[in-house]
């Protein structure tokens, strides 16, 4: 048995202490953020407490705090995020597939790559201005808005060109905003698929498309889904671009003027009319309440709106986690 040198044992105690300090630093960092969130939730919920009732959830907005509700904002956000997702997912995944699987690594590809990375960092208000001139005004090519009516047999869809401030132009703007995030997340997910999987598939006589369709996409799906949900959550919370687009804040109807499930069953054509209708969104609604002169609207109704927004966000993230778990169970190497 050799004796441990004294300086060594002294250093050892010091090293153990350092380890403990580091562990506690990490602990504080982790719990600190949870604590802040908890304080925020409690503060908002307590302010919203008596206002967050059935009347609030089922009424459109109103100037009177007692009659104000989130219905228009909720369904506006629903349509916005839904349409954004429908447009963003195929385009985003397609772009990521092209860049990862098909594009040759040359100068042009590098420029596209670089620009997508830059676009992901552009402030959302800039997208609002872009969306305003492109989708709402069509660069001013039209002297004044023309109204068109598309006859589909079972229903007629009325829309204007240029689009004006409607759900569709809002969704297109949010789509531009979400695309870079979805593309980058999808690219990373595709890159994480082991090359051996690709090679095994190709060696069995699969074409490139078959390899992508049956091996690469399923393996990358959890990562892609995570990116999509993150991007859509961000789109759901965006206020600035919608404000720039000029979305109305005092909207007392839901897109498509759908008055409940029964009305929708009787007039399914309203589903097609909704993208061409005016809208508001939950964050925009909150923003206008916070700026209102009425104290009740400013403090309490806005808090109720925030709670609804948070609940929708948590629900979306829950779906994301569920989907990820589900697909990850099937894929493990």
């Amino acid at each position: 048995m050799t004796t441990v040198p004294e300086h060594y044992s002294r250093r050892l105690a010091h090293r153990h202490r350092l380890g403990t300090v580091f562990e506690w630093a990490c602990r504080v960092a982790a719990w600190g953020s949870v604590l802040v969130l908890a304080v925020l939730l409690i503060a908002v919920t307590s302010r919203a407490w008596h206002w967050l009732d059935w009347q609030f959830l089922t009424s459109p907005n109103d100037y009177e705090a007692e009659r104000a509700g989130i219905l228009g904002g909720f369904w506006g956000s629903f349509w916005l995020v839904g349409l954004t997702g429908l447009m963003t997912v195929p385009v985003g995944i397609g772009a990521a597939l092209y860049l990862e699987e098909y594009a040759k690594p040359n100068w042009i590809t590098r420029q596209i790559q670089l620009n997508i990375a830059n676009l992901a960092g552009v402030p959302s208000v800039v997208y609002g201005i872009l969306g305003y001139s492109v989708f709402i005004r069509f660069f001013g090519f039209f002297d004044r808005p023309q109204t068109y009516e598309l006859a589909l047999g079972f229903t007629n869809v009325r829309f204007h060109l240029p689009l004006g401030t409607v759900v569709l132009s809002g969704a297109l703007t949010l789509c531009l905003l979400s695309l870079p995030v979805v593309i980058i997340a999808s690219q990373e997910a595709l890159r994480a698929v082991p090359p051996s999987l690709r090679h095994a598939s190709l060696a069995l006589g699969a074409t490139k498309w078959q390899t992508i369709r049956y091996q690469i996409l399923p393996a990358a799906l959890p990562g892609i889904l995570t990116g999509v949900i993150l991007a859509l959550s961000r789109a759901l919370g965006e206020t600035a671009p919608l404000a720039v687009l000029g979305a109305a804040s005092h909207v007392d109807f839901v897109p498509g003027r759908i008055r409940g499930a029964g009305d929708l069953m009787a007039n399914p054509g309203k589903l097609l009319q909704a993208p061409f209708d005016g809208f508001t969104a939950i964050p925009l609604q909150i923003y206008t309440w916070v700026n209102d002169n009425s104290r009740d609207l400013r403090d309490s109704v806005s808090a109720a709106g925030i709670v609804v927004l948070l609940v929708v966000l948590i629900a979306m993230n829950g779906v994301a986690i569920y989907l990820r778990q589900r697909y990850q169970q099937k894929i493990r190497w």
Binding site: K104, P105, S196, L197, R198, H199, A200, S201, L202, A203, L204, G205, A206, T207, Q210, Y214, Q215, P218, A219, K330, I331, R332, W333
Partner: protein, 287 residues
Amino acid sequence: MPTTMSTIKPSATSADAPTVPPPMLGASATATPSPSRRMKFETRDMSFYYGSHQALHDITLSVPERSVTALIGPSGCGKSTYLRSLNRMNDIIEGTKVTGKVLLDSVDVYAPNVDVVELRKRVGMVFQKSTPFPKSIFDNVAYGPRIAGQKNLAALREIVDRSLKQAALWNEVKDRLKDSALALSGGQQQRLCIARALATNPEVLLMDEPASALDPASTARIEDLIFELKRNYTIVIVTHNMQQAARVSEYTGFFCLGRLVEVGRTKQLFTNPAQKETEDYITGRFG
């Protein structure tokens, strides 16, 4: 390694070696295949480039039908590159180039009218690391026929049964075809990959160190399997294990620094190598 090789070497005296004429000649000579055996693959003055780096130099090598040809050599000598150029798996890598001829049944596989998908269906491949798809055992084996357009479930079942039996895996998995392939052991996964390759009904099987990641018992099973399969398939196997080459193959090619140093009957090459380099390598003096 040197001790085991020396046990092989003295088993045959150098005196009986010249009585067997070499059926295939190395890179230095022109290929004159033995008339008795049809050549499945032939490469003539084949060179391979990764960008400007030349990985293979003028390889002339013939692979006889329904036999096992082993490719040995030190790491980075180009034997895997050679193997992958036979089914054009190297095409996946950007900036590669092939010169010379690679003939499958006398047809140049690098000719512009050759469909690489069709080629890979005829020339199956098994990789060093087993690569089961994250699917069921059945779906793994059925993958090749399915992507080729076979939709009939009864036909697929028949193919899966046959392939798993051929790969000597049937008895172990017949009751759990629906289970994930990833739950199989390493040796079973590798045999599953062989079954999957056999399911497309290939004519040639290329194996890139198929047993290097396996324990001795699983390795022995794979070797037995290779011995079985050569009755119906032409097999080219890359291996670092010289006893394995000696055990399973009838022909062996020795690669070094991107050149084919020597090729001949396995027994001949291991007992009486023509080149000094080959002898040094197989007796463990280098590599």
